[in-house]
């Protein structure tokens, strides 16, 4: 699986959305991505890329696009 696929897959698994819906997602704008969904998503991303995110990054990860930018800090290119 490519990093792009792994990344989309984390959203699909954690938030139970389709791969087509994932890129448009923003925290708080869908019922799936609420505070509970957020922690599930963080855990899925940490597992997928074997990283441990800092608190500042966890709370900053507010959209599909923003997540890519944050993972770059952990040397994950998507």
């Amino acid at each position: 699986m490519t990093n792009q696929e792994k990344y989309v897959n984390a959203f699909v698994q954690a938030l139970e959305v389709s791969a087509e819906e994932a890129p448009a997602l923003v925290y708080g704008e869908s019922r799936a991505w609420d505070s509970v969904g957020h922690m599930t998503l963080i855990a899925a991303l940490e597992d997928a890329f074997d990283v441990m995110m800092e608190m500042d990054d966890i709370i900053d990860l507010s959209s599909f696009e923003k997540g890519k930018e944050i993972l770059r800090k952990y040397d994950v290119e998507i």
Binding site: M39, A43, I58, D60
Partner: protein, 468 residues
Amino acid sequence: MMWRFERYQANTAVVDEYGASLSYAELRHEGRMLCQQADGRCLVFCLCKNVMGSFVGYTSFVNGGVVPAMLSADMDPAQFAALYEAYKPKYIWAPAEFELEDSCCRYERFGYRLLQTPFGDATRLSPELALLLTTSGSTGSPKFVRQSHNNIRANTDSIVAYLALTERERPITTLPMNYTYGLSILNSHLDVGATILLTDKGVAQKEFWNFFREQGATSFGGVPYTYEMLDRMRFTRMDLPSLTTLTQAGGKLLPQLHQKYAEWCRDTGRKLIVMYGQCEATARMAYLPWEKSLEKIGSMGIAIPGGSFELIDAEGGLINEPNVTGELRYRGDNVTLGYATGAVDLMKGDERHGVLETGDMAQRDADGYYTIVGRKKRFLKMFGNRVNLDETERMLKAQFPASEVACGGHDDHLTLFSTDEGALPAMRAYLAEKTGLNQSGFFTRAVTEIPKNDAGKTLYVELEKYDD
């Protein structure tokens, strides 16, 4: 009148995340304006968010003798419709984008509108009634808890006393104001002239912490799930010099988290206050004094000032010995009037007379501290919200009449058991949607049969064996 805002005229009552604020004098003035439009005592459905309009609506109605029913602004439309028909409120106080047929707008302020319904004064109210709250963020029946002015006053006095609140407090909102614990934080702090920091953002969002730091929040409350989230976010490494107090209620905190936060508070000169309550007792019944938080891990403490507990055995007798499990009964002026399941019930008086069977099973230790060990009734706490398992079963049976289904599980983990494996994903999605809770808390398990006794009653203990 619930609060005497005139005592704190110049104090700031509320600051929101967008920079707006109101002094107590302004809040009092806003209340008069709004209640004048409502034109006398009546029932209002208040669609709540942690924003200025919702806050001003709540404080104004309660102080002005108008009875608000506090509902989530995000509630399921079908559920709203059922409550609307059952209670026939005179007004809806709702975000401006909320649309309602056959209504007209009487007043608009802070992005909220007072919508007059066609019902007029159809619903009559008992003179004692001050406020209506749902027992959870959930399901099915249009049930409210009826709270009186005296209930709120008694509970507010107790909370102000045991938390030793002063006007210097700056609590930040972490819980919705249609939720009894969230509301109790507003009630108690408004009573001492403190400043509420109002935000609709949650602890997993950057904007929340920016607001927290800019405004120097001194305390927040959390349900067990909040503390689990904070733990995963490695919260204790955050630099929050203004924070002095953490409170916890809405279910039992995992003992290891209780210990961890109690130690962190001890080491950093803060207070952790574990508490216990129910909507049926206005909000609070017990608290664990912060000095005891490390010594009494897992305990929810002692009764609040003005309240008392009893433990009842299976024969209905009082348990006097320590460390024996019994049903927990509470007495106090904060025990609410009773329930309502329709408009006519709003004329009812006090049905509980200060005594509440909590439905929780508890033990008292030799020092007099109480620990919850189980529940008599079949419900779970899902992310702090009470979910009645018999009710979720009924909902599923109504929606999926061809499938056999039963509900079980534990807090934050509701399991759907069904013999119809193919229907389980749809059942799970349905329940998540109807309860408004995140689907990650719902689990499914296909079973070959739902175990039952000879009388046809589901054997839940047998069923739980199938669950991981």
